[in-house]
Symmetry: C2
Amino acid sequence: MSSKFADRIARVQPSAIRELLKYGDDPSVTSFGGGYPDASLFPAVELQRIYTEVLTTDSATALQYTASAGLPGLRAQIATRMSAAGAATDADDVLILHGAQQGLDLVAKLLINPGDVIVTENPTFLGALIAFNPCQPEYAAVEMDSDGMDVDALEATLRGTDNVKFIYVIPDFQNPTGVSLSLERRKRIIELANEFDVLILEDSPYRELRFEGEAQPTLASLDTEDRVIHLGSFSKILAPGVRLGWVSAAPEILDKLSLLKLAADTQSSTLNMTAVTRFLETYDIDAHISAMRGVYRAKRDLMLSTMAEHFPAEVAVTKPEGGLFTWVPFPEGFDATVFMADHALPEARVAYVPGVSFFPTEQRSNFARFSYSGQSDEEMVDALTRLGAILNEHI
Amino acid sequence: MSSKFADRIARVQPSAIRELLKYGDDPSVTSFGGGYPDASLFPAVELQRIYTEVLTTDSATALQYTASAGLPGLRAQIATRMSAAGAATDADDVLILHGAQQGLDLVAKLLINPGDVIVTENPTFLGALIAFNPCQPEYAAVEMDSDGMDVDALEATLRGTDNVKFIYVIPDFQNPTGVSLSLERRKRIIELANEFDVLILEDSPYRELRFEGEAQPTLASLDTEDRVIHLGSFSKILAPGVRLGWVSAAPEILDKLSLLKLAADTQSSTLNMTAVTRFLETYDIDAHISAMRGVYRAKRDLMLSTMAEHFPAEVAVTKPEGGLFTWVPFPEGFDATVFMADHALPEARVAYVPGVSFFPTEQRSNFARFSYSGQSDEEMVDALTRLGAILNEHI
């Protein structure tokens, strides 16, 4: 039957994230793999009240179909939040998505012919690569340092590469590295996009989870020529299980994305959109986010101090100022995928995401991404201590 | 900016359904357009109890990420229902989707290279065409009669057409015609698919809403060579607002569809999947569906008798045995799109779906689809009476 598959399916292969989500279901394994938020932070009491109220008073509309672009009230709430963060946005500039992941799929559909080039950070979000791949792009991956994407390398890439359609960038607490883009570089990326006439896809699910350092403006707010397509998400600031995100872009782009959304799945869940709108009207989500920041800061601190204590001295872990991940560079020659299969899983009962899948072009094997958001403090310390002991046997 | 768009976007244009959903929001217009179920039939009390319970006792898992294929319990419940309907199905054979519409998008991605041919009924579901179009297929549309797709015409089409990848068929209460496929023809379609080595995409959202006549087996249950990809939906039997559907197919196909689902939007809503699973465990959905059937039968009868009384005698409306739609053929030369814009909307304050958009190849202007599911009895009679008066002035 595979002889029937379209050519694009050659680019659709099982991913490390998918395999790792399976380990997340095994209670004997501590998974630092998926970007699961801390479930104890979900506003469950408030959401229980909201869903009960919505289904008691508004079930006929909340359970029905609605407009494919999403509920106007939710689009307006998001526009207000984006405007307050510096990017003047109207409700009409916002399209509700089934999670920000859907935006990656729809933007690739909108822009990519087979062979067109997407410029990414190196490494970049694996979920973006699997969303882009069915459109058969080529990738140009630009090196990063502790201030994010190297803009001189970006300029050289844009100068030397034909058919670049867009630059994909996660400016805040990048996935997988945890690094944030400096203000100077944000401005330079906008200049370069203008100069080389390419679009920018800004993926911003973690931005509000900054627990230290100074917040930087979004690329959308620095945009001078309507070149930035901005993706946001409720998964990290509210709950992933409602599957709600959004895209904001210039009208000509948003209009086509709306048509692609209608074609892809008609609309997002009316019930979940109604409930999240009501949540934003009723409760103070900024206070909720503020409380989350303190928890994640403590979890990051605990992960880094435990790694510093128990991991081999050669392993210099990065220190993110927000978000859910840290990025662990092992010594050259260490293969984090092989080590996980041979030692971390069977001996330490620990899972992480081997870094190799995050490199779009030349893959590097000596990295791993660790999430500090999804375990209790005790489980985190126990698991990292077990893993450290085994790492010390092999490094 | 449109110079940046991918070639496929030439096939992504505003659709009649999208425009009509907008009229559905104008309270002065009675819309027979969208396939909105009767909101009074939603099991709102039961769903309110379920969501309250889920968010009280299981919020940490119901609001979290889960496996991309969907909750195992929900997959098992669907497999049991499909098996009871004659197609032996395991939980592993089922992938949960964000509505059956998503299945149309994913199956086209799986199978269609630009220029490949999809065989459809003529006319066929507009939402399927807009889902397929971004993959740049060609269409071969096979004529129908009161027993559904003409299988001799199908055979001639398969014999005379290269690159056919699949036959898209809605066997029960077809959208837009309301016609069902006879048992003999179902068997013949399976034979022809085997003979010409093509797949079948069976879209089955209305099947359980049969209120008269004898239920026919699904194509999936008649399948002899694992060629049928079956789409089902909770939108019509439970509520569209939860956005849950499913696809069942051979393992090799389902495995790739699972990867495409992960790439497209990570997973369906954990909260909605948890609630629907609990609903199926707690309540008797068959009793619920049975009650719905009586309501829709009465609505169909009221629509047909009102049309017979008030529409011109030349208009011979079809009589569906289930589902939500009827199909109205106007005399040759009548343009249902122009009439709606010039007369039905401004004078009668009535919307329907002009039939032209449902024809994949050679478009015909003298048809319209009317849904009888979304209005009160009084509103239906008043609106059809108004429309009939104006039709009589023009036919």
